[in-house]
Amino acid sequence: MSTTVVSTGTEGKTWGGGNKPLEASYGKMMMWFFIVSDALTFSGFLAAYGFSRFKFIDAWPIADEVFTHVPFLHGQELPMIYVAFMTFVLIMSSVTMVLAVDAGHHLNKAKVTLYMFLTIIGGLIFVGSQAWEWATFIQGDYGAVQTKGGNILQFVDAEGHRVALRDFVVADGHKDRVQHERKEGLWFVSEGTLPAYTVEEVLKGLKSHENVLVRTQIINEAGEKTVLSRAESIKQIEKNGKLVVEGANLHVNEYGSPLFADFFFFITGFHGFHVFSGVVINIIIFFNVVLGTYERRKNYEMVEKVGLYWHFVDLVWVFVFTFFYLV
């Protein structure tokens, strides 16, 4: 071992190794370049969302009408309130993270521990809220009819307020259409849950309720969805109605274009996955802090590196918030 070359004589020279390019440590710089590539992935998704939206610019769902729910406040229309709360939670957990990094610079183990813990809690609240948001979106609230061409017809009353299917449609008790299951015959074919109503029942309900009108996807000059006349409403459901849609999934979406639901699930899902993995990494670092690993190292740079990732997750959310909920 004594013959091992320990000095190459090139230290301090730019390409000699052993120096820090751009005065950043290797780990931090690699985290930055990972963040650049991840930012490009997310902007790819958001740009694809923009593409689809521009493609159907006159028929895209209005986000304020989709995300109106707040937990524990049933039946109230409160657009944006809950998602603003989620944004604030994420920014707040970013703040506790940067406070942990700052405490790390002062080698203050107790404070780093506390702030890392708060950051993890913030992340968990955010992921939980996201799950609730998904569940609400999947469940839907008013229901709609999809046409043969894939468009969505919703129902409003004379004042333009939304009317839910359950308020005017009566399900026929003598239904003979049974949901197909694998155990009955064709084992290689399965089918999703059947809607509560059929199109015929919706048509019957529409005919018997004078004040219910159909609202199409098309956005008019006032920035609102077009409401059809009474005669036209019945004609549309009669001629084009094909499927009753309640809630949203990857195939259908009661709020409008299925692409809206697809992108919502994909982009917020991908972001939620980042938050989740961020929480897991934060927990690992938290235990390292508690065990005193960085105390012995006299260096809390690992906290700083996961901090960069955590802030990046916050940064992405700022853009998702704008393009899904505001614009």
């Binding site: 751009l22 490009l40 593409f51 603003a84 703040v95 700052d102 990046f312 505001l326 614009v327």
Partner: protein, 126 residues
């Protein structure tokens, strides 16, 4: 290393005594910007409804405020302010250039497809 922090934001208009204070100051600023966005999003004032460069003025305001927020998250929470110019430019300009390019191409194409539908050559098939 980021042991020495630059403690001023808004080009020196607002100076802080310590890094911790700066963090809270930035939080207040970001919360304020988010609150403005939410209020504008709920009330949608008529004055912002005019169309500028193919989009509603309100949407431009939202996008600009978002970029402002992104700037302060990157500069103060991620300590980009304290990094060298080289690292800052390598990260920021690479991303900005590629993202602008991507957005331009996709939105242009989306608008084109919309006009094809609009003019009635294709009704709807995908």
């Amino acid at each position: 290393m980021a042991h020495e922090h630059k403690l001023e934001i808004f080009r020196g208009l607002w100076k802080f005594k310590s890094n911790t204070q700066k963090i809270w100051g930035v939080l207040i600023f970001l919360t304020f910007v988010t609150a403005i966005e939410v209020v504008l999003g709920i009330y949608k004032p008529e004055a912002f409804m005019t169309v500028v460069l193919g989009m509603k003025l309100l949407n431009w305001v939202f996008i600009i405020l978002t970029i402002v927020k992104a700037y302060y998250i990157t500069w103060d929470f991620m300590h980009m302010r304290d990094e060298t110019k080289g690292l800052r430019r390598a990260v920021v300009w690479t991303a900005i250039f590629l993202i602008l390019y991507l957005i331009f191409i996709l939105l242009q194409e989306g608008g084109y497809v919309f006009r094809v539908y609009e003019n009635g050559y294709i009704k709807r098939d995908f």
